[in-house]
């Protein structure tokens, strides 16, 4: 059975179409990523799936339960961690956890096994007010509160936004372990480099899904040749590269430019020669392996 199955979900806010005709299938026990820039419609989709908002069109099921009709039963089997920290700042760590456990009709002790690994890291601060925790600890507490009732599906809306690189890595390894305990994880992120950590992912842009698959499949489906180009005058170089025949797209990528080209029309030598002709004598190029970000740029360009 699919943990999540949504078909043709659309939602508009007045004139703005936030999500249009989105369909997704998430299998039981996988980490599914929703990758897209800010404003792509990720949070709207989360709110619809977690029964907080009604879609204008389309239908969906979470663990076989309809997101409109069975919303009350869904709420018992999902955990949701919104992007913004939203626990009670004036209650202590322990009180927050116990409060959310009782709302789901359970106790912390009963499900201690589920959260133990994460909770043990913040347990020394059990009596501290949630508002006085550091960012990373707040995030761990929020995760504990979302897990305390042993949900079947865990929804995480941009859990790593605003978190430092080490904590982000930590967080993803926690997700791996949560997945191993049988929980399906649906996670969104604006960071392309986190995509590789998901079992499968969908890329979303302007409310539309532009590609779905395993990270490997998405990368291997990349249809073009890819070059990493460097030169001394980066911005004029970028503009010049875009003018060359057979170049599909070129955008800056860290300290170099990633250039996609049609392999049937041109190749590395030709492009390099053209760039030098255009006055960028010190320009160098080498073949690069496409990453998720390259795929995203390619797919969103279509």
């Amino acid at each position: 059975m699919n943990a999540i199955e949504i078909n043709g979900i659309s939602k508009s806010y007045g004139q703005v179409r936030a999500v249009s005709d989105v369909s997704l299938k998430v299998e039981d026990g996988e980490i599914f990523g929703l990758i897209g820039p800010d404003g792509a419609g990720k949070t709207t989709l989360f709110r619809i799936m977690t029964t907080l908002m009604l879609a204008d069109a389309g239908n969906g099921k979470i663990c076989g339960l309809d997101i409109v009709k069975d919303y009350f039963r869904i709420r018992k089997i999902i955990g949701y961690m919104p992007g913004k920290f939203s626990l009670y700042q004036d209650l202590s760590v322990k009180e927050n956890l116990e409060f959310f456990a009782t709302l789901f009709g359970t106790t912390v002790r009963e499900n201690y096994g589920t959260i133990k690994e994460i909770y043990s890291q913040i347990e020394p601060f059990a009596d501290r007010k949630a508002g006085k925790l550091s960012g990373g600890m707040k995030q761990k507490l929020a995760l504990c509160c979302a897990l305390v009732h042993k949900p079947s599906v865990l929804f995480l809306d941009e859990p790593t936004t605003g978190v430092d690189a080490v904590s982000r890595k930590d967080f993803w390894s926690m997700l791996q372990r949560i997945r191993e305990s049988g929980v399906t994880v649906f996670v969104s992120t604006p960071y392309m480099d986190e995509a590789a950590m998901c079992d499968r992912l969908s890329m979303i842009r302007d409310g539309k899904i532009i590609g779905t698959g395993t990270p490997e499949k998405i990368v291997s489906d990349y249809p073009y040749g890819l070059l990493s180009v460097k030169g001394s005058k980066m911005y004029p170089l970028l503009k010049a590269l875009r003018e060359i025949d057979g170049v599909i797209s070129c955008f800056s990528f860290g300290d170099s430019h990633h250039l996609a080209y049609d392999t049937s029309k041109t190749d590395l030598e030709t492009i390099l020669a053209r760039a030098r002709e255009a006055g960028f004598a010190d320009c160098t190029a080498e073949t690069a392996t496409p990453g998720i970000e390259d795929c995203f740029m390619q797919l969103s360009g279509n």
Binding site: L52, I78, Y80, L103, G105
Partner: protein, 365 residues
């Protein structure tokens, strides 16, 4: 589940740095400070006298005025223009001009040869000041006027005030202040609390749990209801212990009308929170309602003296009914049978407010 929700609300309430202190200070402040501050007894009216007669009669009249306790003699002028200049400079509130033939006219009983000018920039002070002066005139005439005496006896006006024989303003204001406090606490604090959960995003976290919205909202309001009854009780005790005022009616009826008012206010508070996304919006709406409720309730100014269209507006003001009922029970000892009109008004408004609140709340789901 209700138990835990309530426990959380109380925990948060007592943990708040200001709220518990406010709940304690509010009734004390209200009962010990406000009755004096909002009193409409006017004292210390600044008086200037232009005495053109300079006789013992005019001196006695002046003494009559100043000894009444309402007036403070600021200046004795010789020239009416000088007195007028003082009034223009806002130094005096009233000017009495005594004519040169004061003694003679009083003696013959032809009239009262003095002019009275009152500054009515502050309307209440002005009109009450004029009344006090006339009262002094009447007293003076009944004691000194020879020819006037017969006439004065003929038009002897005497008032008797029922239910508040000494026209004690404090006694009159105490039930009204209780009304204001309970309305603020039960309507506006819960709606601010709900809006702040909206702002913090915690309401969203609650909404994905299997907690019904009704349970969540009712548990939010219960602590404020408890506080409302605490304040009512504390105010009654202070009124008795400090001022010696005792409720003439059955205290139970006070509580009954408070429950009715709380129902209206719960609906109104929820309505406000449904349509506000942040505390700032909610504050403004609350301020608007609080002003309209208080000024159009008959608490400070009698409804009967408002123009007809304004009187019409007061019919949808819950505070009008609640204040009327509380005053009648406290001062007159009325029962709900006498006050069926107020009870019906509150019940109708309560039904409307709660229905509107629930339907708009469902829509936001």
């Amino acid at each position: 589940m209700w138990k835990y929700l309530l426990e959380k609300e109380f925990k948060q309430f007592f943990r708040d740095p200001g709220l518990p202190k406010m709940a304690l200070a509010f009734p004390v402040l209200m009962m010990l400070v406000f009755p004096f501050a909002v009193s409409m007894d006017i004292r210390n009216i600044n008086l200037a006298v232009v005495d053109n007669c300079m006789s013992t009669g005019s001196a006695r009249f002046m003494e009559k005025c100043t000894s009444s306790g309402y007036f403070r003699l600021v200046d004795l002028c010789h020239d009416p223009d000088e007195a007028m200049a003082l009034m223009d400079a806002n130094k005096v509130d009233a000017v009495i001009t005594i004519m040169p033939d004061f003694d003679r006219q009083i003696g013959t009983g032809k009239g009262f040869p003095a002019g009275i000018k009152v500054n009515t920039v502050n309307g209440t002070k002005g009109s009450l000041g004029a009344q006090y002066i006339l009262q002094c005139v009447r007293l003076y005439l009944s004691e000194n006027g020879t020819g006037m005496q017969a006439a004065a006896a003929g038009i002897d006006i005497s008032e008797k005030y029922y239910f508040n024989p000494t026209m004690d303003y404090k006694l009159f204001m105490i039930p009204a202040l209780i009304v204001i406090a309970i309305t603020m606490i039960t309507a506006f604090l819960p709606s601010l609390n709900i809006v702040s959960e909206k702002e913090a995003g915690t309401i969203e976290q609650i909404n994905v749990t299997p907690v019904s919205k009704t349970a969540f909202i009712v548990c939010k309001m219960i602590p404020y209801w408890v506080i409302a009854f605490f304040i009512l009780t504390a105010c009654l005790i202070i009124a008795w212990a400090v001022f010696g005022y005792v409720c003439r009616g059955n205290i139970l009826w006070l509580y009954l009308f408070t429950v009715l008012d709380i129902i209206v206010m719960a609906g109104l508070g929820l309505l406000i929170s449904n349509y506000s996304n942040n505390a700032q919006q909610a504050m403004f709406v609350i301020w608007f309602f609080a002003m309209v409720f208080m000024l159009m309730s008959g608490i400070f100014t009698p409804i009967a003296s408002m123009p007809d269209w304004a009187q019409a507006i007061t019919y949808v003001n819950p505070m009008r009914y609640y204040a009327d009922a509380m005053r009648a029970i406290f001062l007159k000892g009325s029962t709900p049978v006498d006050l069926w009109y107020d009870a019906a008004g509150l019940a109708v408004l309560g039904t409307i407010a709660v229905t509107a609140a629930i339907s708009s709340y469902r829509k936001s789901e």
